[in-house]
C-alpha cells in the first residue's frame, strides 16, 4: 500500500527490536487437496467437479454453493487463458520471480474457475487478458504449489 509520510513523530528513546515469527507449518491436506498436490508432483493439474457441473481449480473440497462434499476429480490444463492480471514492478523477496512479473488468474482448459499464478514475461506490454499460458514445472517437485515454478505465455499467442 502506499507509505505517505504525513506525520513525523518524536519517538525519543522508545525501545524497539526485531520480532521474527517463523514456523515450518506441517499441513495435512485431506484427500482432495492431497490429490491436487499429488498431481503437481506428477505434472498433472486437477480440479473438482461441483454440483452445478463447474470444474473448480484448485479443487474445492466442498461445493461452494451448497457446502456438500465434492468427490470427483478431473484432469484439466495444462494450458489455459488469463482471466485477469496485475503487473508487479518491484517483486518482493518472498515472490517466486526476481524480475518484474505478472500475477495472473488463469482458467485452465477444461476448468470453469481460474487459479492464481505468477507469469514470467519480459514486459507488461505482452500480457493481456485472454492470452494463453502454460505452467513451467520446477525441476524438483514434492507435491507443493511451488511445483509450478511459474507460468509463461504460449509461443505465438502474446496477445
Amino acid at each position: 500500500m502506499c507509505d505517505a509520510v504525513t506525520d513525523q513523530t518524536e519517538v525519543g528513546e522508545i525501545l524497539s527490536a526485531p520480532l521474527i515469527i517463523e514456523y515450518p507449518f506441517k499441513r495435512t491436506t485431506g484427500p482432495i487437496i492431497g490429490a491436487f498436490l499429488t498431481g503437481l508432483r506428477e505434472q498433472v493439474l486437477v480440479g473438482s467437479k461441483a454440483e452445478d457441473g463447474r470444474v473448480i481449480v484448485p479443487p474445492a473440497e466442498f461445493d461452494p454453493v451448497s457446502g456438500n462434499d465434492l468427490t470427483e476429480l478431473v484432469e484439466v490444463g495444462p494450458e489455459g487463458v488469463i482471466t485477469t492480471w496485475a503487473w508487479v514492478t518491484e517483486p518482493h523477496a518472498k515472490h517466486a520471480l526476481d524480475d518484474p512479473f505478472a500475477w495472473i488468474l488463469v482458467k485452465l482448459d477444461g476448468a470453469d474457475t481460474p487459479m492464481l499464478g505468477a507469469l514470467k514475461a519480459p514486459t507488461m506490454d505482452v500480457v493481456a487478458t485472454g492470452a494463453r499460458v502454460k505452467p513451467v514445472w520446477a525441476d524438483e517437485r514434492e507435491g507443493h504449489i511451488d511445483d509450478i515454478a511459474h507460468w509463461v505465455l504460449v509461443e505465438g499467442d502474446a496477445a
Binding site: M1, D3, L19, I33, V57, T84, W87, W103, L105, T129
Partner: protein, 352 residues
C-alpha cells in the same frame, strides 16, 4: 427490533506508525473519549465488545492486555471478535436486542506498522494452495481492478476521480492520514504501483483505534440530542478464492444491503470501506447508491485505513453526521478479507 443508536464515536488520529505507544496506550484515549462524550464510565456500560487481530503486530492474545484500557474491574460482560470492530458492533447490537442491558461499548484497534502489512495479509489466504505464493493484498486488489476495467464497468479515469475526491475530502478530516488536493489527471500521470493500480489508488498503512458507545431507546435520547438509530444491519461472506467469484461485483455486499434495508428510504451519505479506489465503484453498485449520495465525506479508507478499525470508523462517521444534522439517513459499510470478501452494511437514521 429494539431501537439502538450510536451515541458517541471517537477515533485516534490515523498515523503511519505510532511507535511510542503500545496497543493499550494507543487505544485508551479513544475509549476514554467515547465514554466522556456521553458522560459515562465503564460502570455505566452493560456490555463491551472489541475487534482486533493478532497477526498485524505479531502478538498472540493481543486483545487480552488491551482490555486493560477499559478497566474491567469489577468484572464486566465482555467479548471479542477476531474481526473488524464493525462486527464487534454487530455483536453488541445483538446483545442489546435481548433487552437486558441498555448500553454497550465497542472498540477496535490495530497496529499494522510493526509488520509488512501486504505480506502479513497473505496469511489470510488458503494456506496450502495460495498462501505459499505470497500474493500480497495490493496485487490481489490489482487483479480485481483489472477485471473491473476489462468488464467495461469502469475506467482508470473513474478510479482517479474516486482518488481525487476522497483525498480532497480528507482535507476536512483532522483525523485523516493522507489528504491532498490533486486532480484526477495528476493522479493518472503517476506511475503504476502494481498495474493497473497506482499508489494513489491504494490505502495508507495506518495505526489507530476507535470506539463507539451504543445505547437503547430512552437512554440514547437522554444522552444525546439526535441519536443515530441503527435501522438495519446485516453481514454476508463470499468464498475466499478469487476464482470462485465474479470480481467485478460484490454479491455479499448486495445481499447485506438488501437485508439491511438500504432501499427503504433516501440515502444522504454513505461511508464505504473501500481500501482501493475501484472497490468504491463496486460497492456503490452493490449497495445500490445513486449519484446523489455523498460517498465517503471523511475521505474513506483511502485517507486512513487502520485494519480492524476502518469498518467501525465508517459507522462512526455516518453516525456523527446524522447526530450533527448534516444528514438524515446514511449507509455505513465494512469489509474484511481479500477483494471485498466479507461485508457488513449498516443503515443509520436520525429522528425527523
Amino acid at each position: 427490533m429494539r431501537d439502538i443508536a450510536v451515541i458517541s464515536f471517537a477515533q485516534t488520529p490515523a498515523r503511519r506508525s505510532v511507535p511510542e505507544l503500545n496497543e493499550v496506550e494507543m487505544l485508551m484515549p479513544a475509549v476514554h473519549d467515547a465514554l466522556t462524550q456521553v458522560d459515562m464510565t465503564i460502570d455505566d456500560i452493560g456490555f463491551t465488545c472489541s475487534g482486533s487481530t493478532d497477526y498485524l503486530a505479531g502478538t498472540a492474545f493481543s486483545f487480552v492486555s488491551t482490555l486493560d484500557a477499559v478497566g474491567p474491574w469489577p468484572p464486566i460482560q465482555e467479548s471479542h471478535v477476531e474481526m473488524d470492530g464493525a462486527w464487534a458492533l454487530y455483536e453488541a447490537w445483538v446483545k442489546l436486542q435481548l433487552g437486558e442491558i441498555d448500553t454497550a461499548l465497542v472498540y477496535a484497534y490495530a497496529k499494522s506498522s510493526p509488520g509488512d502489512l501486504p505480506m502479513v495479509l497473505t496469511r489470510q489466504l488458503d494456506p496450502i494452495t495460495v498462501g505459499p505464493l505470497w500474493a500480497d493484498s495490493v496485487s490481489l486488489a490489482a487483479l480485481q481492478a483489472r477485471s473491473l476495467i476489462d468488464s467495461g464497468k469502469a475506467t482508470e479515469a473513474d478510479m482517479a476521480e474516486v482518488v481525487a475526491r476522497s483525498r480532497k475530502d480528507a482535507l476536512n478530516n483532522p483525523k485523516a492520514q493522507l489528504a491532498w488536493d490533486r486532480s484526477a489527471e495528476d493522479h493518472l500521470a503517476t506511475d503504476y504501483h502494481i498495474a493497473p493500480l497506482r499508489k494513489g489508488d491504494c490505502p495508507p498503512i495506518t495505526d489507530g483505534a476507535a470506539a463507539i458507545v451504543l445505547a437503547a431507546g430512552d437512554v440514547a435520547r437522554s444522552k444525546v440530542k439526535r441519536p443515530a438509530w441503527i435501522r438495519g444491519i446485516d453481514h454476508r461472506v463470499d468464498p475466499i478464492h478469487l476464482g470462485l467469484r465474479d470480481l467485478t461485483v460484490s454479491e455479499s455486499t448486495r445481499i447485506a444491503a438488501e437485508k439491511a434495508g438500504v432501499a427503504d428510504g433516501k440515502v444522504d451519505i454513505a461511508e464505504l470501506h473501500a481500501p482501493f479506489s475501484h472497490q468504491e465503484l463496486i460497492l456503490k453498485e452493490a449497495i445500490g447508491l445513486g449519484d446523489d449520495v455523498a460517498i465517503n465525506p471523511s475521505g474513506g479508507a483511502l485517507a486512513a485505513n487502520a485494519m480492524m478499525t476502518a469498518g467501525l470508523i465508517r459507522i462512526g462517521e455516518v453516525a456523527t453526521r446524522i447526530s450533527n444534522g448534516e444528514a438524515d439517513r446514511g449507509v455505513a459499510h465494512a469489509t474484511s478479507g481479500p477483494c471485498l470478501q466479507q461485508n457488513l452494511v449498516t443503515v443509520l437514521e436520525g429522528d425527523a
